[in-house]
């Protein structure tokens, strides 16, 4: 029998970037906030210190900071005809675990998604006509505009200490920045990172081909920085242990060094770690949440935590899972197209080439997670005519090695033996002399790419695992084709000694190799309850005192990384929660 606890004003499920932002903002507004985090406490002093944090085996190969699939996973399949089987170990994506969540171990890439994404259906219908959008492509406008989000993007960029260069200041184009970005009120808080040799070489060639390369905007502080909240950052040391690792220099914009410690100092805030929320509890009408049920996974004790407002701040997949387990919103049915929860699950795609230069030394270990130069000519560029290619969306393409950790980074040319003397010779010869050109491509929503509850497999609480049905469709294959061609064109123009060319993806999505932790959708925002799970303030249409943060709100996936809008939407939503919602609890948008 669960022990019933004293009611709190707000309960946050998960304490990463979004939970941290909400904890800080709501407690500063005088609200009483409890965060339930199923992982452990994590601070840079204790958990990210040298030399232990520089352990590729522990953190990268064994995923020490990530969700443990022994405890929680999901089932996967490529299409509705297939039987879903459990993802028995991590591979394709790496959800975070513990205080700070994926915000502790991300690379830092931070983008402003513009109206070409936020108004995706309108943009393509206006440009190419309604028939251009395939019938099974369930994309929809987000119900929010870039203009509305601009101040909130700014807020997140200044909180997280983004290094970058503006390309569009109040409508004025700035040389050296991204000419295709939306107009910004001011520049990034920090100048760009020092470019690597790989980035410089890519930049020169891309420029000579008529593209517009610019430094990647990223939460790696190019110099020491104090953010507007007074959080202090050290300068990035280009240590090459960024993604999958915590930062020992406090140079990576993470909730662990910004919003969370501020919230922790507030008397209005309480954090309970190792607290696994199994369900959001609803009243008899099903229209109001009364709190959450959780288990202390160190003692096994079960609790009922009453709360006035419940805010889901877990990873995208876990937010959707909790909605499905709690019966918040109607589950999506891919056959009828009715229902909303689990709809429009999206991922990302890509292609990459490896270039070998006998006479260049890249020192791949002198790197940071966000280092690199890239081009946006094939994504946010509205003048890029998709018509001849027949797709929607696009790719960002860039270069800049972000680590040289040798368990995973050992580039060798095509035809190299897999072991033995020949393998050793090629590995020793090329390690310092290779660079990659990579890409990140959008994934448009499809009718059958969904999340629902698995009929067979269960978690340790006896609850059904979530089931993911996903594969790349024709649109993604076309993007991948175009991207590989551009990469190979740039690569050849760089005149390498040898090159492993980019190959367009044709095989099914696989759960095995790491691809990207940019899972999106499933609890999407939108303009009507029939087409979305939450409104533009990330508030459940059905249960008004439940809000759902994070990339689960994205109706489709851009070529850009998701954390920019994840942070901006959290700041946007919290203004609504501490303002109008607190004064007058109820739906913030009438259905």
């Amino acid at each position: 029998m669960a022990k019933k606890l004293k009611e709190v004003e707000v309960v946050l499920v998960g304490l990463g970037w979004t939970g941290g932002i909400l904890a800080k903002e709501l407690t500063e507004a005088g609200m009483q906030v409890l965060a339930l985090e199923r992982g452990a406490m994590r601070t840079p002093e204790t958990d990210f210190s040298v030399p232990q944090i520089r352990d590729e085996l522990r953190y990268s190969a064994r995923h020490d900071l990530m969700q443990n699939t022994n405890r929680d996973t999901l089932t996967v399949r490529n299409n509705p005809q297939q039987e879903a089987l459990p993802m028995r170990q991590l591979g394709s994506f790496l959800p975070g675990n513990g205080v700070g969540g994926a915000g502790s171990h991300w690379n830092g890439h931070t983008w402003r998604w513009d109206d070409i994404d936020l108004k995706v259906r309108s943009f393509y219908e206006e440009r190419y006509g309604k028939k251009y959008i395939p019938e099974d492509m369930t994309i929809q406008d987000w119900g929010i505009s870039y203009a509305e989000l601009e101040p909130y993007y700014d807020r997140f960029e200044y909180t997280a200490g983004i290094s970058g260069k503006a390309g569009n200041l109040k409508g004025r184009k700035v040389t050296g920045g991204n000419p295709f970005e939306g107009a910004r009120a001011r520049d990034y808080p920090l100048p760009p990172l020092e470019p690597s040799l790989a980035g410089e070489m890519f930049q020169q060639t891309a420029q000579s081909l008529g593209y517009s390369p610019f430094p990647r905007p990223t939460a790696n502080a190019s110099r020491a920085y104090t953010n507007p909240d007074g959080s202090k950052f050290g300068a990035c040391q280009y240590c090459g242990f960024c993604e999958r690792f915590g930062c020992e220099s406090n140079a990576k914009g993470s909730p662990n060094i910004t919003v969370i410690p501020i919230a922790m100092r507030s008397p209005n805030f309480e954090l309970r770690t190792h607290s696994w929320v199994t369900k959001v509890l609803l009243d008899s009408t099903g229209k109001r949440a009364t709190g959450v049920a959780y288990t202390n996974i160190e003692t096994g004790e079960e609790f009922e935590q009453p709360a006035n407002i419940v805010i889901l701040c877990a990873y995208q997949l876990n937010n959707v899972h909790l909605m499905l387990l709690s019966g918040i919103g109607k589950p999506y049915d891919a056959v009828s197209g009715k229902g909303v929860v689990g709809k429009n699950y999206c991922y990302q795609t890509g292609a990459s080439a490896v270039l070998f230069f006998e006479d260049k030394i890249f020192n791949p270990f002198m790197a940071t997670g966000g280092i690199g130069l890239l081009i946006d000519d094939f994504h946010a560029n509205r003048d890029f005519d998709r018509g001849p290619f027949g797709f929607l969306g696009g790719s960002t393409i860039g270069a800049g090695l972000y680590h040289g950790r040798p368990i995973s980074f050992r580039p060798t040319p095509p035809g190299t033996p897999r072991w033995g003397k020949g393998w050793k010779e090629a590995t020793a010869k090329w390690y310092l002399h290779a660079m990659t050109i990579g890409s990140s491509g959008s994934v448009m929503a499809n009718r059958v790419n969904t999340l629902d509850l698995d009929p067979t497999y269960r978690n340790p609480f006896g609850q059904p695992l979530m089931r993911m049905t996903f594969d790349y469709k024709a649109n993604e294959h076309k993007i991948s084709n175009m991207t590989a061609d551009v990469i190979n064109k740039i690569g050849k123009a760089m005149n390498p000694t040898l090159m492993t060319p980019a190959v367009a993806r044709t095989t099914p999505w696989s759960v095995v190799p790491y691809q990207s932790t940019h899972n999106t959708g499933g609890a999407i925002m939108g303009t009507t309850p029939a087409s979305s799970a939450i409104n533009k303030y990330l508030q459940s249409w059905d249960v008004h005192n439940v809000f759902v943060m994070g990339a689960s709100a994205f109706p489709h996936n851009s070529a850009y990384n998701p954390t920019g809008p994840v942070g901006a939407l959290a700041y946007w939503a919290v203004d609504a929660i501490k303002g109008p919602y607190r004064k007058n609890p109820g739906p913030l948008v009438s259905a």
Partner: protein, 238 residues
């Protein structure tokens, strides 16, 4: 082949006299601090005992790592780098026991895109894979894997890697080889505290500097230049 066997006997003898520190693969200080040992002749391997692998498995793994990582000017051979010890410790430890593996049934083969689906932990997979590979080796070549010729080993490993060999009553060959390949590379390149990459041989081979990495200025100073540095592991700076 005879060399392999006598090597192994010598190894087993020294293992019995092994010290506790060497047994967990921690390099002693003089070894860790030896400058520029990249191309120096291999030292005799420090004594080490096995925690998980049985004698048949030890012979298999030693032959395997010396075949995949032969001695040459780039590095000593696999057993001298401690890759066999790395694999033994990995199997004996939490990873080998499946601490991060979802282990509930039912178990089905599934499609390759659905990933690993066997009911075996990594250590159990190693055990089952070695036994099945040795059965195949005896049936095909008349001897166990550790006693066949280098050419036969090459043929057998290629067959496993490409999934061309069916291991009777064993795991799918490519799945077994997948974990073998992964752990051999980890034993070559993981921090030496885990028992492999002895004297940072793997890091020296490629030029990876290890755990000390403050490159804010180096990224400018050493742009397109070799960064000459003695690699350091976790134990060197603890």
């Amino acid at each position: 082949m005879e060399d392999q066997v006598s090597d192994r006997r010598r190894f087993l003898k020294s293992a019995i006299a092994g010290s506790a520190a060497a047994a967990v693969g921690i390099p002693n200080k003089s070894e860790a601090q030896a400058p520029g040992a990249g191309t120096a002749p291999a030292k005799p391997p420090p004594a080490a005992g096995y925690a998980y692998l049985n004698p048949e498995e030890q012979a298999f793994v030693e032959a395997l790592v010396d075949h995949m990582i032969p001695a040459d000017s780039n590095s000593p051979k696999g057993t001298d780098v401690g890759i066999n010890i790395y694999i033994d410790r990995a199997c004996a430890g939490s990873w080998g026991k499946g601490d991060r593996l979802y282990q509930s049934g039912p178990w089905k083969l599934g499609a390759p895109s659905q990933g690993y689906q066997l009911p075996l932990t990594p250590a159990e997979l190693y055990r089952a894979g070695i036994a099945a590979t040795n059965r195949y080796s005896v049936k095909t070549y008349g001897k166990s894997f550790d006693r066949i010729t280098p050419e036969q080993r090459e043929q057998l490993l290629t067959g496993l890697a490409d999934g061309k060999i069916a291991l009777e009553n064993g795991p799918p060959a490519a799945v077994f080889f997948g974990v073998v390949y992964q752990t051999v590379m980890e034993g070559m390149f993981a921090d030496p505290i885990y028992g492999g990459n002895r004297d940072k041989a793997g890091w020296r081979m490629v030029g990876f500097p290890g755990v000390i990495a403050t490159h804010q200025r180096n990224i400018v100073t050493y742009k397109n230049k070799r960064y000459p540095v003695e690699p350091l592991g976790i134990a060197d700076v603890s």
